[in-house]
Symmetry: C2
Subunit: 414 residues, 2 copies
């Protein structure tokens, strides 16, 4: 994993009118506590159960879920409870997806939410099961060890903490094949804040990756405003991260607002802040994708519509022959032309121009001088495809297709 | 390459009312000659130029070409000459795709056809350039070394031979990353015959793979009958071979009829014979696909339509996580459920059943006892998915995603 050494774990930058840091996550905004513990669900003994609590005063929430028709039990449960637009807590486990587990698996998700509600109520925060979302990730098809999950829930409630440590513990506890935890927080000059954590390292694709993501804010916002902000953010961030075209049964992105800052941002401000946090998390997910040796941004410009630009960029980002060439640092632009040529979009082969890292390799459908000599040895590769037809452009984040990807996905059930 | 040791190079079997052999190809049917020579186009010095000649008495022909919007110059040329429904000859080169080469590349294809026509005319067979189809395969984006191509054409004409040897030489000369030549011939008790050769080892996908294929017959048939037979055959064979979802700029399948047998089969007989030869070639292509360690047949049954079955099987056959699991002999049926769940088809997650090599691993959307213990160590894997909704079924041939696939496609420009 090259990302360990090349990504600064705590970069601070100005974005969306605030300061973005990676040292905090879901418990950064006021009104939130989080925890992450070792419940014994994972055979490895690593942390595997996380809890995020909204202490209010408000409990508004929204969610976006996988587009896969095969949905895991926790997705079905969380979609149901989210219809109220309210969430008190989110419980997340790694070590098992609880997908394709039938009616028993759904009962397990329900039982987990009831246990969280009961433990929080005993702890002094009156909670109903219908206020608890459940997220799971891991191997599809096995029932969860419910004795361990339920014991873990009680411990996770006891461990709830505010500030940095609780959120970071939670970010660790949701990791599967991730090599690093992923969190980010955006602070608006001490006024209001957005924080988030995510996991996801394979099966990254449109309409969400195999990813779990919880975003919190202390802004005052209604469930409808949160829903609008979350959909705007995921459309431009997680939906444009596509590692291998696969879409999980468990993808869940949740947004919870406590209102504890007493600040009511405009919808535009809220959208921008949530998008900034999701964008940073998506970048972290790309950098930590399974087997990644190249971080690739595929941009299709000059398209007649945003839809065409998106489909074109996605088609190239998924092409196994393009991805293996990038793994080999080979500026094989002919494969890019072959890939874009099968995208179901408007294009004129004689108007397509391609560049790698700014160096033209194909101009108006014909190879440019020196195209075979472009240096792609760096970890970051910008692949730009100009269709020469219109004004629309979209960028998709992806990775190369490496030996490590094959190894990681063939050697172990995950 | 496991295929070398496990596939009998010369199996003989009864199919479509005839006897199918792999010891003959395009020069098996009466009225055809073929040759394959070393023109010096390939840096390796291997054979790289092939010629197929129809000596008549008839010259009927049909073709099917890539669905890629980016089409190589020889595809554009051959599509144009095929509008006449007549072909005297096909010239094929490996060592260069002549794609994305602009107007100069098209002139090269035209010039090659003219040289073939001229050489054949000098040899005693009056031929016009408009009767010569051109096929190319290799790296996209480079102009062909035309001096070598044109010298090679003259030599290929001189080498034209009937019987087995000419066709086999031609089958060798069109290979790129193929490890074995691919040919098949179907004999109807000495009455009429169909023969074919193909190349293709990567980029195998729907609407044709990176494949060149020439099929010949000594039957009496019109261009329209040949066109119908070829479309029926490719729909059920090459279009159902999908190694990596990629579609080449150069895919070409041609069918030529000499009428030399004086036998006029019915359309159904012609369809069945051409389909049998194409099916055998498709099987050979799967077995020799780049990096293959598993030969996989993905069948989706119980679909509400053939279209749904096809799209479902194709979606699973392309899924990188399913393919890497198969490489690891891992019966990870959860990935199969996740893959079929994103197919844009009608399905009910609670009615899906899956089996590997006949052993049930998932019944009505829930894991079956012993599912994790199914043995997938054999090279051949049958993956059956029953949607439980209707009566339609389609099988797609595919392969696993292995280290060798990554190696072959990253280490060398091809």
């Amino acid at each position: 994993m090259s990302s360990d050494s090349t990504i600064d774990p705590h970069p601070t930058r100005e974005v969306a009118g605030g300061t973005l840091v990676r040292s905090q996550g879901v418990s950064g905004p006021a009104g939130f506590r989080a925890s992450g513990i070792k419940a014994g669900i994972k055979a490895s003994g690593n942390a595997d159960l996380a809890l995020v609590l909204n202490e209010g005063p408000e409990l508004a929430a929204a969610g976006v879920f996988t587009a896969n028709k095969v949905k895991a039990a926790p997705v079905l449960w969380s979609q149901q409870v989210l219809t109220t637009g309210r969430l008190r807590a989110v419980v997340l486990n790694s070590g098992g997806a609880n997908a394709c587990t039938g009616a028993g698996g759904f009962q397990d998700a329900h039982k987990t939410a009831e246990e969280v509600a009961s433990a929080l109520s005993n702890w002094g925060t009156e909670t109903g099961a219908v206020e608890v979302a459940v997220c799971s990730t891991g191997l599809i098809g096995d029932r969860l060890p419910m004795d361990k999950v339920l014991t873990g829930v009680t411990e996770a409630v006891h461990e709830l903490a505010g500030g940095i440590s609780g959120g970071t513990d939670a970010a660790y506890a949701i990791m599967t094949t991730d090599t690093v935890p992923k969190q980010a927080a955006l602070h608006h000059a001490g006024k209001w804040n957005v924080g988030g954590m995510a996991k996801g390292a394979g099966m990254l694709a449109p309409a969400l990756a195999t990813m779990l993501c919880v975003v919190t804010t202390d802004a005052v916002a209604t469930a409808a405003q949160l829903d609008a902000a979350l959909r705007a953010a995921t459309r431009l961030t997680f939906d444009r991260l596509d590692v291998d075209g696969a879409t999980s049964t468990n993808d869940t992105v949740l947004l919870l607002a406590s209102g504890a800052s007493n600040v009511t941002p405009t919808q535009d401000e809220l959208n921008a802040a949530v998008t900034a946090v999701c964008d940073d998390l998506a970048e972290q997910m790309m950098a930590d994708a399974e087997g990644v040796t190249k971080r690739v941004q595929v941009t299709v410009s000059g398209a007649v519509s945003e839809h065409d630009a998106l489909i074109g960029a996605r088609t190239v980002a998924r092409d196994s022959l393009v991805k293996t060439a990038l793994f080999g640092s080979d500026p094989n632009w002919g494969r890019v032309l072959a890939a874009i040529g099968i995208a179901p979009i408007e294009l004129d082969p004689d108007k397509i121009s391609v560049s790698f890292n700014g160096a033209p390799v194909c101009i108006d459908g014909v190879g440019a001088p020196g195209a075979r000599d472009v240096d792609l040895s760096d970890i970051d590769i910008a692949l730009d495809i100009d269709l020469g037809l219109g004004e629309h452009a979209v960028t998709i984040r992806t990775t190369d297709l490496s030996h490590a990807y094959v190894e990681e996905n063939s050697a172990y059930s995950s």
